[in-house]
């Protein structure tokens, strides 16, 4: 048998595999442009993304930065979509039918992975086109001082990034889908690196958005192709790992899983948290807050989470100790790390309510005899209290390490009002985080109409990158370690005033439409999408 025959044999699909692939693909097919309306939506979304990209990255960003940011976006979308799909399998009503299909377990998982990659390639192509569009628009309007290269160079850059994007799609999808095998047993430890991989890329936005052509010898077209090859190899490894984990552990765990009980099946007895033991629950809003806080108290009490947090504390202490010799570098690193606590609350806000609706917990929550804005406020305060406590602990250990690291660091910040720069950085990121959380609340309004949904999507998605990109202007490198001018403090006060106005407003708006989640569970959406697909076919 020749090599070609062997390859054809390997790629040949059994009829059952084909049917399985069609089954999985059907779940995505309705998202593709298929009629005039959906073509219009797709066109509108791409134009909105291009406009958002031109507004956010139009001034002073190199072409390399734009394509690199696009690559990061492709990876993040693939990873989050893969992870999201893996999560829905556990609670999907079709789960037991799916498990009962008479095909090898690996075929079940392979079909899901291939179909997920298919739709991600469409999204990646859209992002790639937006990056090219961005370059072309800037090339057309820039004067001699612009950062865009000539048309030929832009074309080479675009062509070089195409295989990179193509490699990042399966890499992100398989990495995200590996969640399928991490629900029970020792595999739950893998959630720790998985969560780190899902959140860390947000921290890279600051770095990638400031790439200069001259200062970036690693971003030539040849290098990008090498990265693409590296990405493809990593994707192959991620595929094998994901398949092994899902087939060996995920599928047997799925068969044992009871919907709605994720992660709670192993310990039958309730673990009491400090607040419950001491009886400090309170009544009214205090009880509402205690209910929301209990979620974080539970997760924080899990051994893997505590160990990981202890690891981060150790890293912060050592980092602070070593950083005392390079105070400015420490401050820069702190700035990059602050992106993460800015994003976590908004992710929690964006996910929690729809997750509760999927788990049929939302009706109990909405049925509590409190105005809805108070329900949301309790949720908002609980997530921020958790994030501030966790990051406050890390900052305290970092500061302690810094103080122990030698007098050079302390001396540096004791001169010329430099200590003020630390407070400025912390306050600016805190306000940014609050603003991003407020935007996340507005997601509820998208349930009102699909047009609002399409309009919100680029805005909501762009908001996650505010801490990594827009904060470059609010907290420029030149400001670190210097004296903060009055103009900056005034701008900070204006930002605080904006946040004080926007947060209650967005909570009120969200409260108006939050009940619509009841009609928009994943199951409801799939059913509606199925109805649409059927109408389209017939």
């Amino acid at each position: 048998m020749s090599a070609g025959d062997r390859m054809r044999e390997r790629l040949r699909l059994e009829p059952a595999d084909k049917a399985l692939l069609m089954l999985e693909w059907r779940a995505y097919r309705t998202m593709l442009p298929r009629d005039a309306a959906s073509f219009a939506y797709w066109g509108l979304a791409l134009v909105a993304l291009l406009v958002a990209s031109l507004i956010c990255f139009g001034d002073g960003f190199s072409a390399q930065s734009i394509f690199a940011l696009g690559a990061l976006l492709v990876f993040l979308i693939a990873m989050y979509t893969g992870g999201g799909m893996a999560m829905t399998v556990w609670e999907n009503g079709f789960r037991e039918w799916w498990l009962g299909l008479p095909v090898p377990r690996s075929s079940l998982v392979k079909a899901k992975l291939i179909a997920a990659c298919g739709i991600q390639y469409v999204a990646a192509a859209g992002i790639w086109l937006v990056c090219i569009g961005h370059g072309v628009v800037l090339l057309a309007v820039q004067d001699g001082t612009g950062k865009m290269p000539g048309g030929g160079e832009l074309a080479v850059l675009a062509l070089a990034h195409a295989p990179l994007y193509a490699a990042l799609v399966p890499l992100g999808t398989f990495a995200g889908y590996s969640l399928l095998g991490m629900y029970y047993g020792w595999r739950r430890w893998l959630l720790v690196p998985w969560i780190v991989v899902t959140i860390l890329p947000f921290g890279l936005f600051g770095l990638l958005s400031s790439l200069e052509k001259a200062a970036a010898p690693y971003l030539g077209a040849g290098r990008i192709v090498q990265y693409a090859i590296g990405g493809a190899l990593l994707a192959a490894a991620a595929y094998r790992f994901c398949l092994w984990l899902a087939v060996r552990y995920g599928i047997p765990d799925l068969a044992r899983h009871r919907p709605g009980s994720f992660g709670f099946g192993s310990g039958r007895r309730a673990r009491k948290t400090a607040a419950f033991e001491s009886g400090r629950i309170g009544t009214g809003f205090a009880a509402l807050y205690a209910l929301e806080r209990s979620r974080y108290a539970y997760w924080s009490s899990l051994k893997p989470v505590r160990l990981v947090y202890a690891g981060f504390l150790l890293l912060a202490g050592v980092g602070g100790y070593l950083g005392a010799r390079e105070p400015l570098v420490t401050l820069s690193a702190l700035r990059a790390m602050l992106v993460i606590p800015c994003i976590v609350p908004s992710l929690a806000i964006a996910i929690q309510t729809s997750h509760d609706a999927n788990k049929r917990r939302l009706e109990w929550w909405l049925g509590l005899p409190y105005p809805r804005h108070r329900l949301l406020l309790a949720r908002f305060l609980a997530v921020w209290a958790f994030v501030l406590r966790a990051s406050g602990g890390l900052l305290a250990i970092l500061a302690a390490g810094f103080a122990l690291g030698g007098s050079a660091g302390l001396d540096y910040f004791s001169h010329g009002g430099r200590i003020g720069s630390i407070f400025y950085v912390l306050a600016a990121y805190f306000l940014c985080g609050l603003f991003v959380s407020a935007i996340a609340f507005l997601q509820t309004c998208t349930l009102r109409s699909s047009l609002l949904g399409w309009l919100y999507f680029p805005v909501g998605f762009a908001a996650y990158f505010l801490p990594g990109t827009a904060m470059r202007w609010a907290v420029p490198e030149t400001l670190l370690g210097g004296q903060i001018g009055t103009a900056y403090w005034i701008a900070l006060a204006a930002g605080a005033a904006l946040v004080i106005a926007v947060v209650p407003l967005s909570i009120r708006m969200s409260a108006k439409w939050v009940h619509l989640y009841v009609f928009n569970t994943t199951e409801d959406r799939l059913r509606r999408r199925g109805e649409q697909a059927f109408k389209f076919r017939s």
């Binding site: 709605g260 009980s261 994720f262 992660g263 709670f264 099946g265 310990g267 039958r268 007895r269 309730a270 673990r271 009491k272 419950f276 629950i281 309170g282 009544t283 009214g284 809003f285 205090a286 009880a287 509402l288 205690a290 209910l291 209990s294 979620r295 539970y298 997760w299 788990k359 049929r360 917990r361 009706e363 109990w364 909405l366 049925g367 509590l368 005899p369 409190y370 105005p371 809805r372 009940h515 619509l516 009841v518 009609f519 509606r528």
Partner: protein, 248 residues
């Protein structure tokens, strides 16, 4: 009992209320262009145990969600003690959602302690009584409970409140026979004071037929009948035969 912390959620004096506990007038609801409820009208007097009956997809859960203020109707009026249903009226009713779930990370005891703080009309004495009656283990984590155990805990939460209206959406769905019996007995026990009003959506007509004093029949979002059970019996019919006549 009035809640001083939430003046918007005051509970009316039920004894003084002569108006029906629940009134729907021409209630209409559309979800994404689909008509889910189409001009539904009925009344439930104070102290009744009413059954809301109809096949799957009839609109029972949607109607209950309107009554519990989850969302407003697109047309018509839904009233509780003559005031429009809405989130600000959640203090007058206790709602058990269909296949709803409680936070799985909490133990049953933790949840009940939180509920005592969350619901201004919570009765500790009733809760203690129901814990025994419904055989709820306070130390068990909710996420590890069987469906029947969690259904009993949810019913306990509903009935430990002193709200004058109790709305139960499919309380027997997916529940074993022993749990069904204890749930039905708990509901019977709650009827003793004659002041609370129950509206129960269920498919298990046989389980509840002897308890209902009124039935509301809806199908495909439309009102198909509202009958006094005594009158039905006086005419030689049962709830089950009436249901079959309408839907078979």
């Amino acid at each position: 009992m009035a809640d001083m912390r939430n003046p918007d959620f005051n509970i009316p004096n039920v004894a003084a209320a002569k108006a029906p506990a629940i009134r729907c007038v021409d209630v209409t609801l559309r979800v994404k262009k689909k008509i889910v409820l189409d001009g539904v009208s009925f009344e439930i007097p104070v102290g009744s145990l009413a059954g809301l009956l109809g096949p799957n997809g009839a609109g029972k859960s949607s109607l209950m969600r309107i009554l519990t203020g989850m969302f407003p109707p697109d047309g018509g009026r839904a009233e509780l003690f003559c005031a429009p249903a809405g989130p600000e009226r959640l203090g007058v009713l206790s709602f058990l959602p269909d296949r709803g779930q409680l936070p799985p990370h909490l133990g049953a005891g933790e949840w009940l302690r939180l509920a005592a703080g969350l619901y201004p009309d919570w009765s500790e004495a009733r809760m203690e009584e129901l814990i025994v009656k419904l055989d709820v283990d306070r130390g068990q984590r909710i996420g590890s409970m069987s469906r029947g155990q969690e259904a009993r805990l949810q019913l306990l939460t509903c009935l430990s409140r002193q709200a004058p209206i109790i709305i139960l959406d499919e309380p027997f769905a997916g529940v074993d026979m022993v749990s069904r019996e204890s749930i039905a007995q708990a509901v019977v026990g709650e009827l003793a004071d004659g002041e609370r009003t129950f509206l129960i959506a269920t498919h298990d007509i046989r389980e509840m037929e002897n308890l209902f004093d009124r039935i509301v029949l809806i199908g495909e979002g439309r009102m198909l009948g509202c009958h006094d059970v005594e009158t039905l019996r006086a005419n030689g019919r049962s709830v089950e035969s009436c249901y079959r006549d309408v839907f078979a």
